[in-house]
C-alpha cells in the first residue's frame, strides 16, 4: 500500500518539507486516508510520535499504514515511536490550547 518507499520527505502526503499541513491533516482524519501515501487506511492504524506523545497517547501526525509509518520515521525522525490501534479520536484544537494543532487519540491500542 505504501508508495513512499525510498523517496524523500517531499513525497509525504500530509507534510510539506517535513512540516505538517493542518488542512491535510484534517482531511486525512476525516477521509480516513494515510498521511504518508494518501491511500485509504487499513487496519490496524499506525501513529508515529515522540516518546512524550506516546506517553500521553495523543499524536500530531495523522494516521498511517503500518508500512508507511516506518517510512515516515525513516524520512523524518528515526527516534519516533510507532503505536498501533484499531481506531482513534480526532480532537480539534480549542481556543485556550497553546498548541493549535489537532491531535489524534488512539482508542484501542494493540
Amino acid at each position: 500500500m505504501s508508495r513512499v518507499g525510498a523517496a524523500g520527505p517531499g513525497t509525504l502526503f500530509a507534510w510539506d518539507d517535513g512540516v505538517l499541513v493542518k488542512a491535510t491533516v484534517t482531511r486525512c482524519a476525516l477521509s480516513r486516508v494515510c498521511g504518508a501515501c494518501g491511500g485509504s487506511l487499513a487496519r490496524p492504524v499506525a501513529f508515529v510520535g515522540t516518546a512524550e506523545e506516546v506517553g500521553r497517547n495523543a499524536f500530531h501526525a495523522p494516521p498511517l499504514h503500518t508500512a508507511c509509518a516506518e517510512d515516515v520515521r525513516r524520512l523524518l525522525d528515526p527516534t519516533w515511536e510507532t503505536v498501533l490501534t484499531g481506531g482513534f479520536e480526532f480532537v480539534r484544537p480549542a481556543k485556550h490550547d497553546e498548541d493549535r494543532r489537532p491531535t489524534f487519540v488512539p482508542n484501542s491500542l494493540l
Binding site: F13, S31, S40, R43, S108
Partner: protein
C-alpha cells in the same frame, strides 16, 4: 458572514461559545468512557438482522420462481420489501456509520471504516472523502459543502439563480429516484468539472473506480440474481429495481431533511482555518436539523433523525445518539440556541417548499428561515461577487499527490 461572528447567528459571547464547547466535550468524554460490550452487541445485532433480511429476500425470489402465480406474487412482494429494507439498513445504520469510524474502537476486522464496502453505487473510498471530510468539515458552508443541492439543486437564497433552476421540481424527483447514482457521482464534484477546475487525472481515476463499483452493483442486482430465478428472471429483476428505488427515495428523504428545513442555516465563510472546536460545534448545531420519531424510524434512518448529534459527534456509536440528544437539547435551551426539530413530514414539507421556492428568483419569493435569536434576523440574500469567498480548490482537484 463568518461563523466567528457568532452574535450574528445566536447572540452568544465568545466566552459562552467556549463554555458550550466545554460542555459538549464533557458529553463526548462520557460516551467514550462508557463505550463497550453493549454497544458492540447492538451493531452486531443490526448487521445480523440485515443479513437475514437480505438472505431471506434473495432466497424468497429464487424459490418462488417455480411456484404457482397466486403463491409467487405474495412471496415476491414480501421478498422485495425485505430486500428494500435490508438495503436501507445496510446503507444507513450500518454502512454510513461504520465508514465514519463509529465502531473502529471494537477493532473488529470486518466492522471497520477501512474495510467496509457498502451496497450502493459509490465506492466507499470516495464516500469517505465527499461525506466524512467535505460535508462534515464544511457543513452548510456555501461553495464548500457539495451536499447543498448535490450540484443540481439551488437550496440557499445566497446561491445565484439561473433559468435552469425552473426545472428544480423535476430534477428533485429524478435525484430522489436515482439517488444512489447521484451519490456515486458526488465526489467527482460536478460544479468543478463544469468550471474546468477538476484535475483530469483524478477525475479519470475516480470514474474508473465508479464504473467498476457500478458494474458490480448492476451485475449483482440485474444479472446474477435474476439469472438464478430461471424463467422468472424478469420478476426478480423488477423486484431488485423496486428495492433499489425504495432505498434511493428513503435515503434522499432522510439526507435532505438533515440540512434544509427552515431552521438549518447556511454559512458563507472567508476563513475556516482558525475556527476553534467550540465554533465548529456551534456551526454543526446551527446548520443541521433533527426529526422526531420512534426508535425503529431512527434505526432505519441511520440515526440521522439525530442529525445535530451526528454532526457534533460523527464518530461516536449511533446507538448512543438518543441519550446524547437529551443533553444537547438541554444545552441548547440553556444558551437559547436554536435546536431545529419536528416530525419527519413537517421537515420534508419544508424541504419541498425550499426546492420549489428557490426554483424562482429571490425577488419572487419570501425567505422562510426563522430569526436565529431574539431580535436577530440573518439576511439570506445573494452577496455581491466581490464579497464572496473564492471556492476551495481542493474540492475539485483533490488528488493523492503530496501537499
Amino acid at each position: 458572514m463568518a461563523i466567528a461572528d457568532v452574535k450574528e447567528y445566536c447572540h452568544l459571547t465568545p466566552e459562552e461559545v467556549e463554555q458550550i464547547g466545554a460542555e459538549l466535550d464533557a458529553i463526548r468524554a462520557e460516551i467514550e468512557e462508557s463505550r463497550g460490550d453493549k454497544d458492540a452487541a447492538y451493531i452486531n445485532r443490526v448487521i445480523t438482522t440485515q443479513r437475514w433480511m437480505a438472505a431471506a429476500a434473495r432466497i424468497g425470489m429464487i424459490v418462488s420462481s417455480p411456484m404457482d402465480k397466486k403463491v409467487r406474487g405474495p412471496v415476491l412482494a414480501a421478498s422485495t420489501i425485505s430486500l428494500g429494507l435490508a438495503k436501507i439498513l445496510e446503507n444507513m445504520e450500518i454502512g454510513h456509520n461504520v465508514m465514519h469510524g463509529q465502531w473502529d474502537w471494537m477493532n473488529d476486522p470486518e466492522i471497520h471504516s477501512s474495510t467496509w464496502e457498502w451496497d450502493t453505487g459509490q465506492p466507499a473510498e470516495q464516500w469517505k472523502h465527499s461525506h466524512n471530510y467535505i460535508h462534515h468539515q464544511f457543513t452548510n458552508v456555501l461553495g464548500y459543502d457539495n451536499d447543498i443541492g448535490y450540484g443540481v439543486l439551488r437550496m440557499a437564497r445566497e446561491q445565484k439563480w439561473h433559468p435552469v433552476n425552473l426545472g428544480q421540481p423535476l430534477y428533485n424527483a429524478l435525484l430522489a429516484g436515482l439517488f444512489q447514482w447521484g451519490v456515486a457521482l458526488h465526489d467527482l464534484d460536478l460544479e468543478a468539472i463544469r468550471k474546468g477546475k477538476k484535475d483530469p487525472k483524478e477525475m479519470k481515476r475516480q470514474l474508473k473506480q465508479i464504473a467498476k463499483k457500478g458494474r458490480n452493483q448492476i451485475l449483482k442486482d440485474y444479472v446474477l440474481y435474476p439469472a438464478l430465478s430461471g424463467k422468472q428472471w424478469k420478476s426478480t429483476l423488477k423486484a431488485n429495481a423496486t428495492a433499489n428505488f425504495m432505498r434511493n427515495v428513503w435515503s434522499y428523504l432522510i439526507i435532505f431533511c438533515g440540512h434544509f428545513p427552515d431552521g438549518a442555516l447556511h454559512f458563507t465563510e472567508d476563513e475556516l482555518e482558525d475556527e476553534t472546536r467550540a465554533e465548529w460545534y456551534l456551526r454543526q448545531v446551527l446548520g443541521t436539523a433533527n426529526f422526531e420519531g420512534s426508535r425503529l424510524l431512527h434505526v432505519m434512518s441511520g440515526s440521522l433523525g439525530y442529525q445535530i448529534e451526528h454532526h457534533l459527534f460523527p464518530d461516536l456509536p449511533s446507538n448512543r445518539y438518543p441519550e446524547i440528544a437529551v443533553k444537547v437539547r438541554a444545552l441548547c435551551d440553556k444558551y437559547d440556541i436554536p435546536y431545529t426539530t419536528g416530525p419527519l413530514h413537517q421537515q420534508y414539507g419544508q424541504v419541498l417548499r425550499v426546492i420549489h421556492k428557490l426554483s424562482l428568483p429571490n425577488k419572487m419569493t419570501s425567505d422562510d428561515k426563522p430569526p436565529t435569536g431574539v431580535d436577530i434576523t440573518v439576511e439570506h440574500g445573494r452577496r455581491k461577487a466581490e464579497e464572496r469567498q473564492q471556492r476551495r480548490l481542493e474540492l475539485g482537484g483533490w488528488s493523492r499527490s503530496a501537499s
